[in-house]
């Protein structure tokens, strides 16, 4: 078999094998592999005819199968896609546009008005018009022949502690490496039916998008509203015979935690992968008890290493005090634990999780300083240049040799499946008129972001402001005004004291 150097080879190959099978779908529409192939190549041809090449193309569409086709079409044209969504607040989208200086945006009827409101100056293409283009195989062939596997495919933006989102650039090679290793563990097949929960504007959706093309599987986008009403959600899984889910932990605990299993059980689910944050053991045990024959895989990994880096398949029963390991790295990825002197951590001792391998992404778009801070020379290699990615997460090995996630080094948190820098929340709130000081803390137990501030606006105004400026998952769950901010001896905000204050405040 030929060595694969381009993610589109998955699609080129599978469309020959099962053109009429359902590829991407939602609750009401199905796109076959043939449709996906034809529309993606029409989009690719259209962009090529616009003389756009090796440029970031923003895809601003609602969560829909065609959005994925727009991604693939962008790659066919030799450009790379930058997914954004209406869930991202205007303020943040504007910063993303500023960083990108993008020349072109693909949108649909539902987003075109929001786009015009942004004051964006570049070209705007509408999906429905683009797909009318007749695909030009020669042109697409030429683009493919020039492509190499270190060319980018996408940029996804993640929270930055300075308040400016960071754009992580990933190329064909790291995505192929990830998809191959990940699929091997997950044992996908043509019978796999995915239920997509994650947003399409994060790297998490790679888990469904590309294995679907690799195996000729089917991926169904689950309507967002169903994640409010968990009974309907499980009914949807059963109705569509969904057998494989790769969800963020809060979406899984929504089902187990609210007692859905007493009423209805997912009938077809046999493979469940959870990522994004620590799985509360009580909830995990409920899942395991309800679906004893299903495979449960716990995932761990940063966007900077193309999605997921480590996996653990639950092969034993757990006690309530146990911690679900993150296990071991995927094939062709290596994890190093480094202590604060950059030496390998002693067995059983904690160290910073650092990642080596092809799965490393290229770095942050137009931010060489930040890139050089996080993607650094392997300190254990003094012989030749070799990059590792420092995650900022602390891990350690248990006595079974399984990797455990311990904590974060800094103020980054995982909340509702998203990665958040508390500093970004503070940066945004500090810009509000009348705010003198603020501090965001996180209640790990109850999964709440708490914002303390000193200033003239009242709580409602602060909440209102946050809603305008921050993505939904970053809006503080509780906002409290203070007369003075407690400080430490060296003049920094005393986070520990605030945390205590918060804990004492709770109704006993």
């Amino acid at each position: 078999m030929d060595r694969q150097t381009n993610v589109l080879e998955y699609l080129d190959r599978i469309v020959e094998e099962c053109p009429d099978k359902a590829c991407y779908a939602n609750e009401s529409e199905i796109m076959t592999f043939r449709q996906v192939y034809q529309e993606a190549r029409a989009i690719g041809t259209f962009l090529a005819e616009q003389d756009l090449y090796q440029k970031p193309i923003v895809v601003f569409m609602k969560k829909h199968p065609r959005t994925i086709v727009a991604f693939l079409g962008t790659v066919y044209s030799g450009n790379y896609y930058v997914p954004i969504d209406e869930e991202i607040p205007t303020y943040r989208i504007e910063m993303i546009f500023q960083t990108l200086q993008s020349e072109a945006v693909i949108c649909d009827q539902s987003t075109i008005d929001s786009l015009s409101a942004l004051g964006y100056q570049g070209r705007i293409f509408i999906y429905d018009q683009m797909v009318k283009t007749k695909p030009q195989p020669d042109r697409l062939r030429q683009i493919r022949d020039r492509a190499i596997d270190t060319d980018p495919i996408y940029i996804v933006f993640t929270s930055g502690s300075t308040g400016v989102p960071k754009g992580v650039v990933a190329c064909h090679r790291s995505v192929i490496d990830y998809i191959e290793s990940f699929s091997e563990v997950m044992k996908f097949s043509r019978d796999t039916i995915f239920g997509i929960q994650v947003p399409l504007y994060v790297d998490a959706c790679l888990k469904e998008i590309f294995p679907t093309l690799k195996y000729g599987a089917t991926a169904i986008i689950i309507p967002k509203e169903l994640f409010m009403f968990p009974l309907k959600l499980v009914e949807f899984l059963n109705q569509h015979r969904i057998n494989t889910i790769c969800w963020v932990v809060p979406a899984l605990t929504l089902i187990s935690g609210l007692g859905v299993f007493e009423k209805v059980v997912p009938q077809y689910l046999h493979t469940i992968a959870a990522g994004s944050e620590v799985f509360p053991m009580k909830q995990f045990m409920l899942w395991q008890k309800t679906l004893p024959d299903a495979r449960f895989i716990n995932l761990y990994g940063p966007t900077e290493a193309t999605g997921m880096s480590c996996w653990y398949e639950a092969d034993r029963l757990f006690e309530i005090d146990d911690v679900l390991p993150i296990g071991r790295p995927f094939r062709n990825t290596q994890i190093m634990l480094l202590d604060d002197q950059d030496r390998p951590a002693k067995p059983g001792e904690p160290g910073e999780i650092c990642i080596r391998g092809t799965s490393l992404t290229m770095g942050y778009y137009k931010d060489f300083d930040k890139t050089n801070e996080c993607f650094v020379q392997n300190p254990l290699n003094t012989g030749y240049p070799e990059l590792i990615y420092r995650t900022g997460d602390i891990g350690r090995y248990n006595e079974k040799g399984e990797l455990l996630f311990v904590s974060r080094k800094d103020y980054q948190i995982k909340h509702m499946g998203h990665r958040i820098e508390l500093g970004e929340i503070e940066m945004v709130v500090n810009k509000m008129t009348g705010i003198l000081q603020c501090c965001a803390i996180f209640d790990d137990q109850r999964k709440k972001i708490i914002l303390y501030y000193v200033g003239t606006p009242d709580r409602a105004q602060v909440v209102q402001y946050c809603k305008q400026k921050l993505p939904r998952y970053m809006i503080p769950n509780l906002v409290e005004a203070l007369d003075v901010m407690p400080l430490t001896n060296n003049g920094k905000i005393n986070r520990l004291l605030l945390k205590e204050k918060y804990l004492n405040r709770k109704r006993s």
């Binding site: 967002k224 994640f227 409010m228 009403f229 968990p230 009974l231 809060p250 929504l254 935690g257 609210l258 007692g259 859905v260 007493e262 009423k263 509702m416 109850r446 709580r459 409602a460 909440v463 209102q464 939904r472 998952y473 769950n477 509780l478 906002v479 109704r507």
Partner: protein
Amino acid sequence: MEALLEILEELHPEIDFLTHEKLIDDKILDSFDIITLITEISEEYDVRIPVDEIAPQNFNSAQALYALIQRLLD
């Protein structure tokens, strides 16, 4: 009712929960809020909302939600 209003107000200080009757239909509440509400209500009133009651009609207004809590308490 007061405790419930307080919980709701903590989530969305900008909404007048005494009069609003389309909290779900108007997309005021989202899945984050629903989960928070369920947890807070169970702590405050010591009731467990059965999963088949987690439905749009019970969350569209503070009144409806309060009626549900009362029903569960009886």
